[in-house]
Symmetry: C2
Amino acid sequence: MDGLRHSLAHLLAASVRELYPGSQNAIGPAIENGFYQDFDMSKQISDSDLPKIEAKMRELLPKWTKWTKKVVTLQEVKKEFSWNRYKIELAEEFAQENKTLTFFTCGGLVDLCKGGHDLPPATMDPRSFKLDRIAGAYWRGNEKNKMLTRIYGLAFETKEKLEAYVKQREEAEKRDHKKLGKELDLFVIDEKVGKGLPLWTPKGTAIKFELENFTRELERKYGYQHVETPYLGAEELYRTSGHLDHFLKNMYAPIDMDGDKFYLRPMACPHHIRMYQRKQWSYKDLPIRYAEIADYNRYEKSGELMGMIRVRKFQLTDGHLFVTPEGLKDEFKLVCNMIIEGMKGLGLTDIVSYRFSKRDPKNKEKYYPDDSLWNHAEGLMKEAVDELGLSYIEAEDEAAFYGPKLDVQAKNVNGKEDTLFTAQMDFLLPEKFDMEYIDRDGKKKRPVMIHRSTIGCLERTFGFLIEHYAGAFPLWLSPVQVKVIPVRTNHNRYAKEIFDLLKENDIRAELDDGDSNLGGKVRDAKNNKIPYWIVVGDKEIEAKKVNLESRDAGQIGQMSKEELLKKLLEEIKSKK
Amino acid sequence: MDGLRHSLAHLLAASVRELYPGSQNAIGPAIENGFYQDFDMSKQISDSDLPKIEAKMRELLPKWTKWTKKVVTLQEVKKEFSWNRYKIELAEEFAQENKTLTFFTCGGLVDLCKGGHDLPPATMDPRSFKLDRIAGAYWRGNEKNKMLTRIYGLAFETKEKLEAYVKQREEAEKRDHKKLGKELDLFVIDEKVGKGLPLWTPKGTAIKFELENFTRELERKYGYQHVETPYLGAEELYRTSGHLDHFLKNMYAPIDMDGDKFYLRPMACPHHIRMYQRKQWSYKDLPIRYAEIADYNRYEKSGELMGMIRVRKFQLTDGHLFVTPEGLKDEFKLVCNMIIEGMKGLGLTDIVSYRFSKRDPKNKEKYYPDDSLWNHAEGLMKEAVDELGLSYIEAEDEAAFYGPKLDVQAKNVNGKEDTLFTAQMDFLLPEKFDMEYIDRDGKKKRPVMIHRSTIGCLERTFGFLIEHYAGAFPLWLSPVQVKVIPVRTNHNRYAKEIFDLLKENDIRAELDDGDSNLGGKVRDAKNNKIPYWIVVGDKEIEAKKVNLESRDAGQIGQMSKEELLKKLLEEIKSKK
């Protein structure tokens, strides 16, 4: 495909030169999904000129039937391209590097080019490519040089593939969580506060609180106890845990506090271990399950930050379980079931896949060195996921340094895959911290640990949810659940009554008693993707009813206040 | 009083020497609330010997009617104290420093002493002092020296004052939040995790969640919007706010992140300001009220840390309001009312006082330099608190660097006063961040800011609540609200039914289906200060009822499950 894309860049050059004589073409490679060509234009153009250029390309296309190649001297280049200072500059440089100079010609256009064209353009479906957009680009990427005009094009094997790509890209752009986050006022990325440190706006926070409640309810159901521990940890803690040996490159520099060194914590496992160690436990007390919406900090390069999906400080719906060795497999299965239940609750089941991450047996020094423990843990985990009937891929060299893990992966709208949820087995940290419980026989035994998240990291899960729902959240997650719209200002009092009733029932309502007209108010509700709006006018006041309309189901009609409350509260409770 | 306390130290020396001949008395000064005397004892003694010594002191007391003073030579000291190496060592040292050596004699006891006795002991009420406890103390505080026996005594002007002090101290010890925190398993101080970084246990976290819900409900009622912002901030943010100029000594060292400097935030005001600045606002939108349970970090020396009350990382029930200048006074009054409502809800009204903290007009350089703004803000705040009818004390030089504040102060059980809640006016930060709103006339105006906390810092408020309630929390705050106790194991099934019913209704219940007997189970409920326990045996199973007993009201008696639920849920809801 690259050969055709590259050829189209030549065709683009020919078309532009015909339409805008005197324009000089510079470079024009194939790229992912298409091609581009840079020009020093004789006349400034804009996106609106693209259809004309595209038409010219289609007009010339049938004549582009054959590529011919000719090895030339620098002199020949200078003669042929006396009108094009960019080609001459390149040719002079190639000559100095003793590279062979070649002309490639097609449809009458001679170009300085090193080749790579395979089929001639005339063989392709003229509807399988299109011009995309115009951008500025410095000659040779250097800002001291002249700014050239870069024309981007898209090209695929077939018209269908082109259309599918364009549609998918439009969809992805519409769903992009950074764009929607701003439009729907869900979060703020503010460099002044700090790169990689997003702020949750009031609307975003309403969703965050729902996610937190959802998490904690699920955790209570599965027998977890909630704890809260600080996002800092003393050096000694991470020395003992091995994080300073194995995880330092993901951690921030330590802070001195009155003579002691503290780290912003990269993980909360040591804190939960110390929580466990505040008491002596018996086998009867196990499993002990601690859960926390825990603050984590990770070293990320500025360039790798991405909206809510890759950040420097996040909150993990974290948890650590301390289990007897005999109880490990069953408890691990319970953990998986809980994660699956959480995923279903959020409506994410369709976009995930499972990844069973193991140690690289050929690269053991990155991992805790104990072959038999690794084999035991990996064997046990495989049994558990097989017994659950999960279909997964196995990935070597992706385990945590302390043990194997099962990751639930999801692709974002741009196709990039990230880990959403995780469950990990750990025999190492209990050893390092010398953890124990008293077994049935009165002897001290070592518990095993499971690390897991319930619905992953709140920031990332939020980002995925925005994209998954394209901002049109289900009722229970919507930051504004109902908007109350009086038709005219003389209906404001009744509207306020309805609004107050909703508020009293903990429904997140908004009252739009401003000056704009009904159409404007409804449009605003739609733009903000509010699930329901209620219009009240003379008819409703007279009937003592409300008129309900839905984002997803359209006009629902008049109903009493009691019916309204019942309908909304049931739908919120169902989390559908 | 110090003179009498010092005299009693002499009397103690005389008594010990009479009861334990050959014992050498070393030093014996007056201290806060009493005195001590160090001895090299001829026989080891313990606290159980104190009554005998105390009786001897009272026996000798009537003869201690007059102090006589005599200036002596080192020779005379050596002769008189040939039996006491400590006195000789001191006398030799004093002589070398050319100090006058003096003997003070009373009731026949000659002692090397520099004086300070005022009234002779015989004049005092013999019931106004008592011996307190025995401790070890190295001679001259140097661990290379011999360990001496230190006997502590308490002494006051009157018997009543002594009794009051003893009672208050017992009460304080019983209520000490560090002691109760451990006994009731509410939080953990773990040096391995880090000094000043307490962990909230499952029970403590249950209380924390209640406090969070309480805070957020109150904030919703007063029209706040909840936001969530990170506990880190870029250097530029705190440069702009002035924290780096005025607050640096309370902040931790910055952390480098890929070339940028970040601070653990000491306050969240800049974050909320940037949240405000994400949009343009009209006067119609104001006041805007942001609330957050915000993470704060403060530099505290290790020696100043104290349980949950003085920590290095805490969560403030924080909030910032952006107000038109015309609306400032009324909004400030609303803020005060809200704080008072919160305080009442927590039952803390009786232990607080108000402190109106102003700039020091003689020491202005610590504060934002604008006399007219300070006068305006202080005047407005005084009007507001006067109109509310609060009685307060005025404190100069205790304002924030950006404006005056009203602090709600509370004393802990040891009499130490701390700030629990606060409300502050601020004209400075809106200026520094160039904040604005569009006023009625279409022009840009500067909003004023109010900084305030709802129920203060969760850690500190928790500490105060533990001490205030001596760990016997009201039902809504209790980590375990009801304990279900089957009389014998054959009642476990019915007990489990009751337990499940309570759980389903979100009541924090515990099922004690272990092997211990009824008495032990009830004792455990009492020791853990659980507000209610339910005993179920044959009678209850037959009658399909439960038998309820209360920590505070004793036996309540049999009732149906429905009655039980109704009673408990109503009491929880009432927050009484």
